[in-house]
């Protein structure tokens, strides 16, 4: 490691060591405060706010996938399935899709008179989380005794199957003339969130949407941090590092892995339900394999296993995909005389990003805390070495 880089890292570690717990708490509070106040800096329906809302939702999904791939080390390539299930939960329980039914729970007066199943958005979130938790366990079940690559394939297969069911669900009857999904046409006219006292959300004012997804993000972050520093979190990492040693230490393989799948899926489902409402339609075309890779890239580029990495990765890729490329840089190629728009090479750019990240910085932008400890230890070891050489500054040994 070159001298100046080592010194830079030493300085950074020293600063962080001096930052007592109180200060990092204060920093967190500050960030949250900024997050809450942010919408007021922009008009109620700005493109930037739209991109931010989408980016935060991606961050929630990235946090979910991070539990599965990052904490527990289970390579899930079919995460889009939980996005789909969450969105369909909204489609089923928050729209007129099941037109034969007439169920209303805590919805706006306008919606109260509509046919279909209409539950309050919070109930839908809970339902989406629950359904996806169950689905996650089901999908995880066949993978339990498989090797890493095979887990990837099986989860990918499940993701594709869900996609096919989504498209063809319009020909799957569920009774009374109703069908399972609306295929590629999509379930439209889904409910917007409604809270008594606040009213119904609308797409003309993005601020309530923003605060809602921010609240969801904070909740998911909270759960993640608690899990990471718990008995269960340690069990996941142990399983990831060395499965045989982990089970020999008393960690139940099946239960622990299934919990990882379930929790990761639940977060994805909540984000999916939110997207369903925000995009105002639940459409089979939204659920492609590419999306699974998209979320996986966020986790990897952010830093596998790192909570903040997942957030940063989600936000970064969200902004790049929904703001930077389509709105800001789309015409960049034409400036160079090239005959296409940037959105047409989105795919390729992502692919390129993935390749570059893996080759140059596989640990991601914000490496997992424990990897950072590795670097700290390396520095400590170097310090000790330096101390042994006569003429340099005497060290602790």
């Amino acid at each position: 490691m070159s001298g100046w880089r080592a010194r830079l890292r030493q300085w950074r570690e020293a600063v962080e060591k001096r930052l007592p717990r109180r200060w990092s708490r204060a920093l967190a509070v500050l960030l949250i405060a900024i997050g809450i106040v942010l919408p007021f800096l922009f008009p109620p329906s700005s493109g930037f706010m739209n991109a931010t809302i989408i980016a935060i939702t991606y961050a929630v999904m990235a946090l979910g996938l991070n539990v599965v791939v990052g904490f527990a080390g289970l390579l899930d390539l079919g995460y889009v399935a939980f996005y789909a299930l969450g969105a369909y939960t909204l489609g089923w329980l928050g729209s007129g899709f099941f037109f034969r039914l007439h169920i209303h729970v805590l919805v706006s007066p306008v919606v109260n008179s509509l046919q279909g199943v209409h539950l309050n958005f919070i109930l839908i979130l809970i339902a989406a989380a629950t359904i996806c938790a169950g689905a996650g366990a089901l999908i995880g079940l066949p993978t339990l005794r498989l090797r890493g690559d095979y887990i990837a394939i099986v989860t990918l297969a499940f993701g594709e199957i869900i996609g096919v069911v989504a498209v063809n669900g319009q020909s799957v009857p569920v009774g009374g003339g109703m069908t399972l999904t609306a295929g590629n046409l999509g379930i439209s006219a889904v409910d917007q969130p409604y809270f008594p006292g606040i009213g119904s959300f609308s797409l003309l004012n993005l601020r309530p949407w923003y605060w809602l997804i921010l609240a969801i993000l904070l909740f998911v972050l909270f759960v993640n941090i608690r899990l990471r520093d718990s008995r269960l979190g340690r069990a996941w990492i142990a399983l990831r590092e060395d499965e045989i040693a982990a089970v020999s230490m008393g960690i139940p393989l099946v239960k622990t892995k299934l919990l990882a799948y379930s929790i990761g899926a639940a977060f994805g489902g909540m984000a999916g339900a939110f997207f369903g409402s925000y995009y105002t339609v639940v459409n089979a075309a939204q659920f492609q394999f590419g999306f699974s890779i998209f979320i996986l890239s966020m986790v990897i580029i952010g830093g596998l296993g790192s909570i903040w990495g997942a957030v940063v990765g989600g936000l970064a890729l969200g902004y790049i995909n929904n703001y930077l490329i389509p709105d800001v840089l789309n015409n960049l190629p034409s400036h160079f005389g090239l005959n296409f728009q940037l959105t047409q090479v989105e795919f390729g750019i992502f692919g390129f990003l993935l390749v570059i990240m893996m080759l140059l910085r596989p640990q991601g932008l914000i490496p997992e805390r424990r990897r950072k400890l590795e670097l700290t230890a390396q520095i400590a070891a170097e310090d000790a070495q330096l101390a042994e050489v006569p003429g340099t500054v005497a060290g602790p040994t």
């Binding site: 066949p142 990837a152 394939i153 099986v154 297969a157 199957i161 393989l253 390749v355 596989p362």
Partner: protein, 356 residues
């Protein structure tokens, strides 16, 4: 005997369960055809047949589709056998093969009016050039993306593979646009050449097998008879030991990618002639199907890949014809999951290292 009953059940259920599952579709529809009969339109009005001809047609169709998948599956299985990596970009190499072939037809001026002799030489040249292109592409990908990560955790290489897959797809997208493109039916694939037991054998079938069988035999000969082929087998078994024996492991791996890529290119040409349709997304779809075939046959096993390809082709064809093409993907993946549950090592594979 103190073997736990559940262990024994699992062992036998695995192999036989898989065979039953695979036979289920043809057997079911065969019986249905014989008992219920199926409708055929002859000279304008419907006639009910009670024979296996329809099934035979589906199976023949499936086998020749399967021959294409087999060629692609071999590439997956060779690469996985030697470096334990799922080369996600392989399907897209196949797609590039199709695109390259079609472009070469333009270069050679092959069209619907070209005479037989010109067509033969032209297609042969196309085959060779395409194989060189895709083989080199595969080698390039290995060199750039996988070799640097050989000692990194498997996840990193897998992600890189996916990244390259996306890059290649985007190349295809820019090359020929986002919609499926029709290509001239150069050899009149649907023309019946002869029939066996009432089942028409189309030109396309002969094409598919005519390309696959020689290539598979050539590959088999190469692997078992040449020094380089032996090096491949040795490296697949134990890279460290191979290195100690003086085998150039890097070159052997590159060779494996070359061969796999060449076969994918051949598959690409056959596909273009057979389907008369190419699409930038075909590689992804084909890749998943071919990978399923490789896994079903036993990953790392070339014969298994061929067997798997043929079986998957038949399943696909039956599903297309009887359940409807909109469900076929789900059916194929359902089978993939079934394999993983019942017998992860596949039909011809050896014991996989299961977790714990």
């Amino acid at each position: 005997m103190r073997t736990h009953p559940l262990v024994a059940i699992r062992h036998y259920a695995g192999r036989w369960g898989l065979i039953v599952a695979l036979a289920a579709l043809p057997v079911y529809y065969g019986i249905q055809d014989l008992v219920q009969g199926y409708q055929v339109y002859v000279a304008g009005h419907a006639v009910i047949h009670h024979d296996l001809t329809q099934l035979g047609y589906d199976v023949a169709q499936g086998l020749s589709n399967g021959a294409i998948w087999a060629l692609i599956a071999i590439g997956y299985t060779l690469v996985y056998g030697i470096i334990e990596l799922i080369n996600f970009a392989h399907g897209d190499v196949f797609m590039i093969g199709s695109f390259t072939s079609v472009s070469l037809w333009g270069v050679f001026g092959l069209g619907l009016t070209t005479g037989t002799l010109g067509l033969t030489w032209g297609l042969l040249a196309t085959l060779i050039i395409t194989m060189i292109v895709t083989g080199s592409l595969n080698v390039l990908i290995e060199r750039v993306a996988y070799r640097p990560l050989r000692n990194a955790p498997k996840l990193a290489a897998l992600i890189t593979a996916v990244g390259f897959s996306f890059i290649l797809q985007n190349v295809g997208l820019l090359w020929r646009g986002g919609s499926p493109q029709s290509v001239p039916d150069l050899i009149h694939v649907q023309q019946t050449v002869f029939t066996i037991g009432g089942v028409p054998i189309q030109r396309g079938y002969i094409l598919a097998f005519g390309v696959m069988i020689p290539l598979v035999f050539a590959l088999g000969w190469f692997i078992s008879r040449t020094r380089a082929g032996r090096a491949m087998r040795a490296t697949a078994q134990d890279p460290e030991a191979a290195r100690l024996m003086g085998i150039n492991v890097n070159a052997t791996i590159s060779l494996t990618f070359l061969l796999g890529g060449m076969l994918a290119g051949a598959a690409g040409l056959v596909y273009a002639l057979y389907e008369t349709n190419i699409w930038y997304f075909q590689g992804f779809k084909a890749g998943l199907i071919a990978f399923t075939a490789a896994v079903m046959g036993g990953i790392g096993n070339v014969r298994g890949a061929v067997l798997g390809g043929l079986i998957i082709g038949v399943i696909q064809s039956l599903s297309d014809a009887r359940l409807g093409p909109q469900w076929t993907e789900a059916v194929v993946f359902g089978y993939l999951i079934a394999i993983m549950i019942l017998r992860p090592r596949g039909l011809l594979g050896e014991e996989t290292r299961e977790a714990g």
